[in-house]
Amino acid sequence: MDFLMSFVNFLVYEVLNQPATLVGLMAFLGLILLKKPFSKIMSGTLKSILGFVILGAGANVLIGSLNNLGPMIQDAFNIQGVIPTNEAIVALAQQTLGTQTALIMAFGFIANLLFARLTPLKYVFLTGHHIFFMAALLSAVLSTAGLTGVPLIVAGAVILGFVMVLFPALAEPFMKKITGGTDVALGHFGTTGYVAAGLVGNLVGDPEDSTEDIEVPKTLSFLKESVLSTMLTMIIIFFIVSLIAGRDIYSQYSNGQSIFMFSLMQGITFSAGVHIILTGVRMIIGEIVPAFQGIGEKLVPDAKPALDCPITFTYAPNAVIIGFLFSFLGGLISMFLLGPIGLALIIPGMVPHFFTGATAGVFGNATGGKKGAMLGAFVNGILISFLPALLLPVLGSLGFANTTFGDADFGVVGIIIGYIAKLFA
């Protein structure tokens, strides 16, 4: 009996309390349920634990660079500067909310399957990194609102499971138009922006006047390589901020380096951090998502898999480029509007504008052709600037981190849940 108690204690207070081993346990159980061979179970479990530790190491690299930029913007503009980067904010959240995030994710999977089984919303959400990001967002928002322990996990998991079927369902009418009706759904937490783009497209244009009739050069395709696009943006951002801040301010952070070297190395350090974090996320997600999908196929065989946004890109490659450019334009214009109305300065990041702008472009094109792609993506760009700014107050201490969640649905879900939770707390 004593032995049993101490084993339970070990499990609850040590294994489950350590996010890395908790995630490993999730992968372990998933692989066992699928009756995978021993060697696969071992490699899957160990890799997801390793992935979590790598994620933490990447966060430290990234913070080194972010801790220069944030105060520099503060000194130069007297305003909080925020660059929405999901990987960064999630890695930061793991330092204090790792266990909560992992548990919400695990039970959120189960909640997703229950919703798919019991309601007409038959989707299994397979974009693993977005599930992870949403779990981190919910743990931050709910704990800021005062929830702890079991209620925090239960509320987080139910909400997570629900949004995992809700957003694919919202995107579905547009996805039918885009794909011509296949058996895949869209599982991406930028859906608010895509639906907005689709609706705008309906209002302004004609789907017959398609973006795919234009010849577009392929020069922007290097942006698909997210490490490169992050690095370029961050070098430019560091350079512009240092330039505006002036020598007196940036030299406090640059250790005597020239403005060029300083911006270059800080931008590269930032993207190195993101790359390390992504390597970790990839190791975790690469093991857990296939296990989840396997279980989902057994329990809810008639559900549609909801997949990451690049699956839409092949249907309208020109709309992808147009969408990115107009979303980024929306982000730039919003940046100049946010300060005067007293919100944080949201600096448009390449990665969210590329992926969600491109998808918004595809949605807008499906309903409104060229005009729809341009204006729809532009609206997406405005949304992913204002929503992150409005999200900051409900994130608690994470709201002061100089980085935040990028995609539209994180903003929508975080703001709604944050204010509802405050009513009850």
């Binding site: 974009t127 693993g128 990194h129 395709s221 390589e225 997210s226 992504l278 990839r282 990451d308 699956i311």
Partner: protein, 89 residues
């Protein structure tokens, strides 16, 4: 047969591709492994084949043969390409 499934982030379409390829290999009794990679980290990786979407496939330079997939979710297309690749080995 060792396969790399590649996309821009190494999280989205490449993972879908990996799951589809693994399922086909299992059904056809093909021994081997499929690993997910992002575009930036495939250099120096050993593989027999690299599977990717058409836009990504164009950008890959690697000693292993690159096989472009038109539609990530079309299991028949992927099955044909996996089987053809396996026969060539």
């Amino acid at each position: 047969m060792r396969v790399l499934a590649v996309c821009g982030m190494g999280l989205g379409s490449s993972l879908v591709l990996k799951m589809n390829i693994e399922k086909i290999m299992e059904q056809e009794g093909i021994e081997g492994s499929v690993e997910v990679k992002d575009l930036s980290s495939i250099q120096g990786e050993q593989a027999d084949y690299i599977f990717a979407s058409e836009e990504i496939g164009e950008k890959i330079e690697h000693p292993a043969e690159v096989i472009s997939v038109k539609n990530m979710t079309d299991k028949n297309e992927i099955r044909e390409k996996v089987l053809a690749a396996y026969k060539k080995l």
